[in-house]
Each structure stands twice: as C-alpha cells, then as structure tokens.
C-alpha cells in the first residue's frame, strides 16, 4: 500500500474500485473480506482451504519478487551494492553491527507513535467536523470546500510554515500527520451520516424524534461502516504523514524517515533497505489492524450487499 494508491481521495467518499482494491489487499494480507452470506454456508474446513487458496497467489508473487531481487543483484555485478540482496539486508542491517537493528526498530516505534497520535487526532477532528456538517447545512456549505482544499494543498509547501510556528520537533510531525490523514475521515464519515435512507429518517420523524436522537440512534450507527473505511484509509496515510514529518522535522529522536536520510547519506544501502521494508510493514500493519477493528465493530451486522 502506497501513497499513490490512497492519494486520489477527492470527492465524497471511497469509490467502489478503491474499496475493491482495499479488499483485495485485505484478502492478501489475511483478512479476507468474505461475504457473510457465503460464510454461513461454508464449513470450517472449506473456509480454511479457501483461506489457503486466497493466500497462495500473493505468496507466489512474493517469491517471484524475491527471485527478481536476487536476479537484479547478480546482473548489477560490481555495482550490486546499489541493490543489496535480501539476506544481506538481514545480516548486515538487522543482525549485523550491534545496535543497528535496534535503532531501526526504535525509530520505527517513534514513527508509529506519531502516526497513531496523528490518526487519533485526525479521527476525532474528522468525525466532529463531519457530524457538525451533517447537522448544519450552512456549516457544510461554508467549510466542506476547505476540507477538499486541505486535501489539494501540497503539504510540503506548508512545511516551512509549520516549522516556524510549531518548532521542529514531535509536535510538527504530528501536525503534518493529521493534515494528511484528516480528509478521508471527514469525507467518509459525512458520506455515512448522509447515506441514511429517507424512509428510515421518516420512521424517526413520525415519532417526533429530536435531531439529536436521529443522530445518535440512526445516523451515527448507520455511518459506522463508512467511518471504519475512512479509518482504515487514514491509518495508511498517517504512516505516510509521519514519515514525511520525520524528513523535515528532525530535532529530537529520529524517526524512520530521518534515519533513511542518514543511511542514504552514508551509502548504507542494506540499512536503507531494512528501513524501507520496516516502514512499509508499518503501513500494512496499521491498515490491517484498523481494518480488523472495523470488522469486529460492524462486521456482525453490516451487510455490504445492501
């Protein structure tokens, strides 16, 4: 999962195609999004073999990539230090010189912390913003364009300003992270809140339910599946945001982003590869965890067919 897959996120919410892509990815990393109706009529054994069958193609691709990696290394000959072999990455960067694997892990943890804090802030802000927009049309009219614009501003252009205003330490990294992760939360929550069927709304209206009751008992629960789609997407983006933040705000403990820069400068390519793989795994892990949380929270009742 990369920034390119997630960035075209302008408009109201996740498109079906993106949903499908994400579901394929989720299936690849083991959280197969099987329709429950099918699940209900499959036995345990069938399910396992189906799981194995679903896992095989990605594993095959993984092996192909691994082979290609070795291939490229061999072809490069004398310049093969540019693409160190996977085993070199492991022996030299991770278990090699003492403390280096640990340093990568520590930086990763810090970056993960920034990403999680950023994601939490983006989620709370995004949901609040969307709830307010759903309740007050004027608020939506006057502020939604800015949510879209926020998505279009190249964050890098704001980096100097963020540094000047908030310093070059952790806070600045978190702010970058929030700015990158906010929009999918806003857009998906708003979409969910507004996707309530007219007849369901009228069911509440007939009992003279207050706006607040409609929000808490109807709109918000109905929006949960979209909110979790947003959360899953933002989780991936939060990692991107945290790494971008690492690059530019390097005071204090280095995050994985600044570590990568250091390795690049020092021509420590096995270490650079290890850092890149670590960062990628972090993104996948975040996506996976928040996908799983969503599944646990709404999977029981949510019926994607409807």
């Amino acid at each position: 999962m990369t920034a390119t897959e997630m960035s075209p996120f302008i408009g109201s919410a996740i498109t079906e195609e993106q949903q499908e892509q994400q579901e394929q990815l989720a299936a690849a990393i083991g959280v197969a999004d099987m329709p429950v109706s099918r699940k209900a009529i499959t036995t345990q054994g069938q399910r396992i073999s189906r799981g194995v069958r679903a896992a095989l193609p990605p594993i095959a691709v993984f092996l192909v990539v691994l082979a290609a990696w070795y291939g490229v290394n061999a072809v490069l000959g004398a310049r093969n230090f540019l693409v160190p072999r996977p085993d070199q990455v492991i022996t030299e960067a991770i278990v090699g010189r003492t403390g280096q694997g640990l340093q990568i892990l520590q930086s990763l943890l810090l970056t993960a912390e920034v990403a999680v804090i950023g994601l939490a802030i983006a989620s709370v802000l995004g949901i609040l913003w969307a709830v307010l927009m759903s309740q007050f049309r004027w608020f939506q009219r006057s502020t939604y364009p800015y949510a879209v614009i926020l998505q279009c501003i190249p964050i890098l252009a704001l980096v100097p300003l963020i540094g000047v205003w908030f310093g070059y330490e952790l806070n600045a990294r978190i702010i970058v992270c929030v700015m990158i992760a906010l929009f999918p939360m806003v857009a998906n929550t708003l979409f969910g809140l507004q996707s309530v069927e007219k007849s369901q709304r009228e069911l509440f209206q007939l009992q003279r339910a207050s706006r607040f009751t409609v929000l808490t008992k109807l709109q918000f629960p109905a929006a949960l599946p979209s909110i979790f789609v947003g959360l899953r997407t933002s989780a991936g983006l939060a990692v991107v945001g945290a790494i971008v933040g690492d690059f530019f705000f390097q005071r204090g403990t280095p995050g994985i982003g600044s570590l990568m820069q250091t390795y690049t400068r020092l021509l420590s390519y096995p270490q650079l590869f290890a850092a890149i793989i670590g960062a990628s795994l972090l993104g996948v892990l975040m996506f996976f965890i928040f996908g799983l949380i969503g599944k646990v929270a709404v999977g029981k009742w949510y019926d994607p067919a409807n």
Binding site: S199, L203, Q205, K217, D303
Partner: protein
C-alpha cells in the same frame, strides 16, 4: 355498489360517527410545481380497511404521507382524528445493527416508554407476527417476509388505531405475500385498527379490503370506489369464486379507464 362491509369492530361502533381519516377536496402541489393530487375526498372509518390502487406516480404514497403527517396538503382539509398511527414502508426499514427484539422496541423507545414496558410490548408484538424465537436475529439473517413481519411488529407496539401501508408486500414472492395477507387480516380482526393500504395488485386489494378505491393518473383523483362484501376474516378460497373474479375484473376496468382518462 353500496354494500356496507360487515364491521369486525362491533364494540367500537359507538364512536363511529367521526371517521378516523377525513380528506375533503385535498390537493397536493409540490414546490417544484408537480401536482400529485387534486380534489381528493376519502374517508376511513373505524373497522374499515381501505385499499388504494392507481397507476404509478398518481399520488398514492403522497396520500398516505399526508394522512401520517409527513406531508402537509397544499389545499383542502385533511383531518386525522388519532395520533396512534402505524406506518409500514415499502422496505422494512429495519435498523441493521439492531436485532429483531431491539428493532421492534424502537418506536416505544423513541416515545420514551419505560424499559420493562417496551420489552413486554415488543415481545407481544413479535408473538403476534409469528417471529417468536427470532428475537436475537439481525436483519441480515432474515428473509424478506420475516423482515416485513418485524416491521409490522414494530408498528404494532404503538397500538395503532390507524395503520398505513405503502406497498408493504410488493417485493415479496406470491406465496409469502398471500400468507402475509392472511396474517394481516388476522391482525386486523384481532387488533381492531383501521387500515389504509396501497398496492399495485388488484387481487390483493380485493382480498384484503372492505373497500377498494381507484385513482386516476396524475394528478390523482378518485375515480371509483368498490365495497367488498366478503366477511372478515377472509376465507382464502374466496379467491377462486366467481364473485371475487368479477370484483377483480371491475376494479381492473376502472383502473384502466382512469389510466386513459
């Protein structure tokens, strides 16, 4: 045709003078200029089950929405003398995240009834529609017919005096539909609500109702009304009688004339 249907509600016949629904010269013009209804007179008394048939888009739903208070008539007077109104939509409108029990409790909950009362009422209603044993099922685990039953049960908790149905069985298969028709008639006889029902099926209309009202195409007007003389509860076999077939024929004719005119 002026045969009065035998009322199943002989006990409430005393306060019969005032109809539950009394529409006089009701017209509906939407802000965008669409005229959905014009000059509609319709009454529904206690003990009556009135079905409205008419071409698509003639304003049948609008009629029900005015009766329920969801919409305000733009002309004429629309009087409804009860606030215990059940409304069943075309789709079951169950909340996907609530099980059957909690879905059926919803309306009492919105009316701030105490928990014990809610639970009891829901249980009774679930019993009435034959969903006992499915209380813990989520909507996605129910068939279309069961969803509709849950939706009926939900409205039954209001002890409605007037029950409005907007094509509730339109999406169901023939067998399920006929079964639900019979169950609805049982409820009608036992619970004593008055009904206003919309359908596109003429035979369903004749089978269910004490009166069938035929509307013309937009703007909807009432072109004819037929009293249905069969006793309640209905014997499923009346469907195969010549009299039933004749009534279905008459209503269909009126429907076709209204469509052209």
């Amino acid at each position: 045709m002026a045969i009065t249907a035998p009322s199943p509600m002989t006990t409430t016949a005393v306060d019969d003078e005032k109809p539950l629904v009394d529409f006089r010269n009701v017209a509906m013009k939407f802000p965008n200029g669409t005229v959905a209804l014009s000059g509609v007179d319709i009454t529904v008394d206690r003990g009556e089950f009135v079905t409205v048939v008419g071409p698509s888009g003639c304003g049948k739903s609008t009629l029900l929405r005015i009766a329920s208070g969801l919409e305000q008539a733009s002309e004429g007077t629309a009087t409804v003398t009860t606030d215990r109104i059940g409304y069943v939509f075309q789709d079951a409108t169950l909340l996907a995240w609530r099980d059957v029990q909690r879905n059926v409790e919803l309306l009492a909950e919105l009316n701030r009834r105490p928990k014990a009362e809610r639970r009891e009422k829901a249980k009774a209603a679930i019993d009435l529609v034959g969903l006992t044993g499915f209380e813990k099922n989520l909507p996605k685990q129910l068939s279309g017919g069961m969803k509709m039953r849950a939706s009926l049960a939900r409205s039954l908790t209001l002890d409605p005096e007037l029950f409005l149905f907007d094509e509730p069985f339109g999406a169901l298969d023939e067998i399920t539909r006929e079964r639900l028709n019979d169950e609805l008639i049982q409820l009608f006889v036992r619970e004593g609500f008055a009904g206003m029902f919309i359908t596109h099926s003429v035979s369903e209309a004749v089978y269910l109702s004490t009166r069938v009202v035929v509307m013309s195409g937009r703007p909807g007007k009432i072109v004819r009304a037929f009293d249905i003389p069969f006793p309640m509860p209905r014997d499923p076999d009346i469907r195969f009688t010549a009299e039933f077939a004749e009534l279905v024929g008459d209503v269909s004719h009126a429907l076709r004339e209204g469509h052209q005119g």
